[in-house]
């Protein structure tokens, strides 16, 4: 289980304090208005931001002392996930071995990861030769190949068209169920949340103001910020 307990971060113009629990193998949709602190929450879990106080654990083990590379966390961003001078296979291989000197078993793992995101046959392509959806699949394959139990997806599909976006979210859902991976993902549309998320965390003004099953959060909370997100406020 991922546990975030009163993790506080302070900047001159922004303060955040997060508390959240996500079950192992669950898909937690992080939603909320722009500038509310969704990305900061994901960056804190990944280790790019260090809280001044609070606790952050995964399956009982504290993540706070660990640098980003040592955390059992993989992350996919909205853009710039791939290095443009490397092929799709090399970009995936970085998740296993940054030196790119792979063993035969690791090469097989890379091929399997690309296969899992339905990109077999495109191993030798460079990012410039791929569509936006294909590039995000490569990034997802890299997250999978590292076998880290927690994957963070920071608005990974928001630049894709609606059909492709739903397809990618469906792929993530299928993969995490098959591999029992915990996923924390920022999502913009309530329909997507309702379709795939086990849990929803509504983030606004630097804190998780509501958390639980999506239906309950979206229907039961009487907060104008949630109403505005659903288009009913």
């Amino acid at each position: 289980m991922l546990l975030i307990d009163r993790c506080r971060l302070t900047w001159p113009d922004f303060r955040a304090e997060y508390t959240l629990a996500v079950e192992t193998g669950a898909l937690c949709a992080v939603v909320g208005p722009s500038g509310g602190g969704k990305t900061t929450l994901l960056h804190m879990i990944a280790g790019f931001e260090q809280p001044e106080s609070g606790a952050l654990t995964l399956d009982g083990r504290s993540l706070l002392p660990l640098p980003p590379a040592r955390r059992p966390v993989a992350i996919v961003f909205q853009d710039h996930n791939l290095f443009p001078h490397l092929t799709a296979a090399q970009n995936v291989a970085l998740g296993l071995r940054p030196s790119l000197r792979l063993t035969d078993a690791e090469r097989t793992a890379v091929a399997e990861a690309l296969d899992a995101v339905e990109l077999d046959g495109l191993e030798a392509r460079k990012p410039g030769e791929m569509s936006g959806g294909q590039r995000q699949r490569v990034a997802l394959a890299r997250a999978l190949v590292s076998h880290r139990p927690l994957i963070l997806l920071d608005e990974p599909f928001s630049s894709l068209d609606p059909g492709l976006r739903r397809g990618m979210i469906g792929l993530v859902d299928a993969l995490r169920r098959r591999r029992r991976i915990t996923v924390v993902m920022t999502i913009h549309t309530p329909e997507d949340v309702m379709e795939v998320a086990d849990q929803m965390a509504f983030v606004a003004d630097g804190s998780v103001i509501a958390s639980g099953p999506p239906g309950r959060v979206l229907r039961q909370y009487d907060d104008p910020r949630i109403g505005a997100f659903c288009g009913t406020g």
């Binding site: 961003f77 970085l94 998740g95 940054p98």
Partner: protein, 523 residues
């Protein structure tokens, strides 16, 4: 039939007519002899020297500049922003001032010799020839290279730095996957540009070359015109230089024509290699060496502050006023030409849908980098000599040639912005019926005002410190500040030279800073 008439077309034709007419006059004045065979061995010597010194200067500037850029990208220290700003300013450091600075530090009686003598090592230092030329070229170009490369390194998206953190990249892997891909795109363009600048180097080679045995084509043209009055030889040398530089300029255009770098959407992330101890030691060494190499010449110019009062005489006032007027006229011409050419390029690209023709207008300013200013000036001087006296000719030709020289830089500010104004608001303006001055006022001016200011200030800075064409016309009747500095250097009046150099640098730097401010605020 789409109309090709546009003020920009007239300007383009006028520029071509000036260049072709200038060279044709020079050839005709050269008389009957096709002198290429006669100057063969001399030409080969000049070409070899020009190429070798330019290649060495480029290599050293690139290596030193890249090391400085990487060190600055990785480190934060008090005064770093000042250092980064100073790097960009060497672009407008007048070459004649750089000559003075190099002599003041590394010359026979410079600071280095004095320091060595002071600690009991009486070494006879002579920097004339390759050492002086390379030091001056690297002093001027390595900071510029570092600045451009630092900008390139800053375009690595923040997301990729975070990925590097997550994936646990080592310093070598960061260099391979993040730094090098960002720098690689800049290397061909920068190498070509620095090579071109050094290949055409004039003031530095003239003053530090140590004699006629070491001449670039530009110096050889100057010597043919000013000393030997051999117009035929000058014309041949000019043709060869134009052909070589044109080829290089075209290659440069090709090298620079690449997709724009990815822009990061958030503030820069922390570089994970910043904590590596080996890199910290290396970066410290690079920064200290950079400081030791770059700071003394700057300080030698600053030392001129002590003697400023001694140079503020009538000669100085006249030269200062002349420089300002010539620089302002040159900048005005450069901006007007850039506006006209940019307007034509926009019209042919957007309205007439003739992108290839538009590309020719875009390329014209850069091709002027290939034209040797001395040969062009001499040809134009010969053409107008029957109508005006030599002193007046100088006042006409200096702003014109300096304006043409500044055009490529002015166009880089203005050309793209004119296109942006058209792309964003062209259809809207057409639908609203905006034309002529109304269109200029409402559509173009808000987007162009600051880039125009930036272009004007930079063009003025480049012209103000220029010691090129004035070497042909300079004398008692026409004196600019750089010419006055050259005279004082020639008379070994180094204290006065340092003060004049300081004042030239101050004016150039203020103008360049103004240009930078205006260009950064352009968006």
């Amino acid at each position: 039939m789409r109309s090709l008439s546009h003020p920009g077309s007239l300007v383009a034709l006028a520029i071509l007519a000036l260049v072709v007419g200038g060279f044709a006059t020079l050839v005709l004045a050269g008389g009957e002899k096709p002198a290429l065979l006669a100057i063969g061995p001399y030409l080969v010597r000049v070409l070899i020297f020009s190429t070798v010194q330019a290649a060495l200067s480029s290599l050293l500037s690139l290596v030193f500049g890249a090391a400085l850029a990487l060190a600055l990208a990785r480190r934060r220290f008090p005064g770093r922003n000042l250092v980064v700003s100073a790097l960009g300013l060497t672009m407008v450091m007048p070459t004649i001032v750089a000559v003075f600075a190099v002599l003041a530090v590394y010359g026979r009686s410079g600071w280095l010799a004095a320091g060595l003598h002071g600690i009991g090592i009486p070494v006879e230092i002579s920097i004339f020839g390759y050492p002086g030329i390379l030091i001056a070229h690297v002093f001027l170009n390595a900071p510029f290279v570092a600045r451009i490369m630092l900008d390139a390194l800053n375009t690595v998206p923040a997301e990729q730095w975070r990925l590097a953190q997550t994936l646990g990249f080592s310093p070598a892997q960061i260099l391979r996957h993040l730094d090098w891909p960002a720098l690689r795109g800049e290397v061909p363009g920068l190498a070509g540009l620095v090579f071109l600048v050094c290949f055409k180097s004039f003031a530095i080679v003239l003053a530090l070359g140590g004699g006629p045995a070491r001449a670039t084509l530009e110096v050889a043209i100057y010597e043919a015109l000013k000393i030997d009055l051999d117009f035929g030889r000058a014309a041949w040398l000019a043709f060869i230089q134009t052909a070589l530089c044109l080829a290089l300029t075209l290659a440069l255009n090709w090298a620079i024509a690449r997709p724009p770098a990815a822009q990061t959407v958030r503030a820069l992330a922390v570089r994970p290699d910043r904590t590596d101890r080996g890199l910290l030691a290396w970066d410290s060494l690079v920064l200290v060496l950079g400081l030791l190499f770059l700071a003394p010449p700057f300080l030698s110019v600053l030392a001129g502050l002590a003697h400023v009062a001694a140079v503020l005489d009538a000669d100085f006032a006249r030269a200062f006023a002349t420089s300002i007027v010539i620089a302002a006229l040159a900048a005005l011409m450069a901006c007007l030409m850039a506006l006209a050419l940019g307007g034509a390029a926009r019209r042919f690209r957007l309205a007439a849908r003739m992108p290839r023709l538009a590309a020719l207008y875009d390329a014209l300013p850069n091709t002027l980098l290939a034209v040797p200013p001395f040969a062009l000036t001499a040809g134009l001087f010969l053409a107008i000599r029957p109508f005006v006296d030599p002193a007046t000719a100088g006042y006409i030709l200096l702003p014109l040639i300096n304006g043409l020289g500044a055009l490529p830089f002015a166009y880089r500010f203005i050309g793209p912005r004119i296109m942006i104004a058209g792309e964003r608001y062209g259809r809207l303006s057409a639908s609203l019926g905006l034309r002529g001055l109304d269109r200029l006022k409402i559509m173009d001016w808000p987007i162009l005002a600051r880039p125009l200011g930036a272009a004007f200030a930079l063009a003025m800075a480049l012209s103000f410190g220029d010691f090129g064409v004035v070497a042909l016309f300079g004398g008692t009747e026409l004196q600019t500040l750089p010419y006055l500095l050259y005279e004082r250097l020639g008379a070994y009046r180094l204290e006065e030279a340092s003060s004049i150099g300081l004042l030239i640098v101050l004016v150039s730097f203020v103008l360049a800073l103004l240009s930078g401010r205006l260009s950064h605020a352009a968006d």
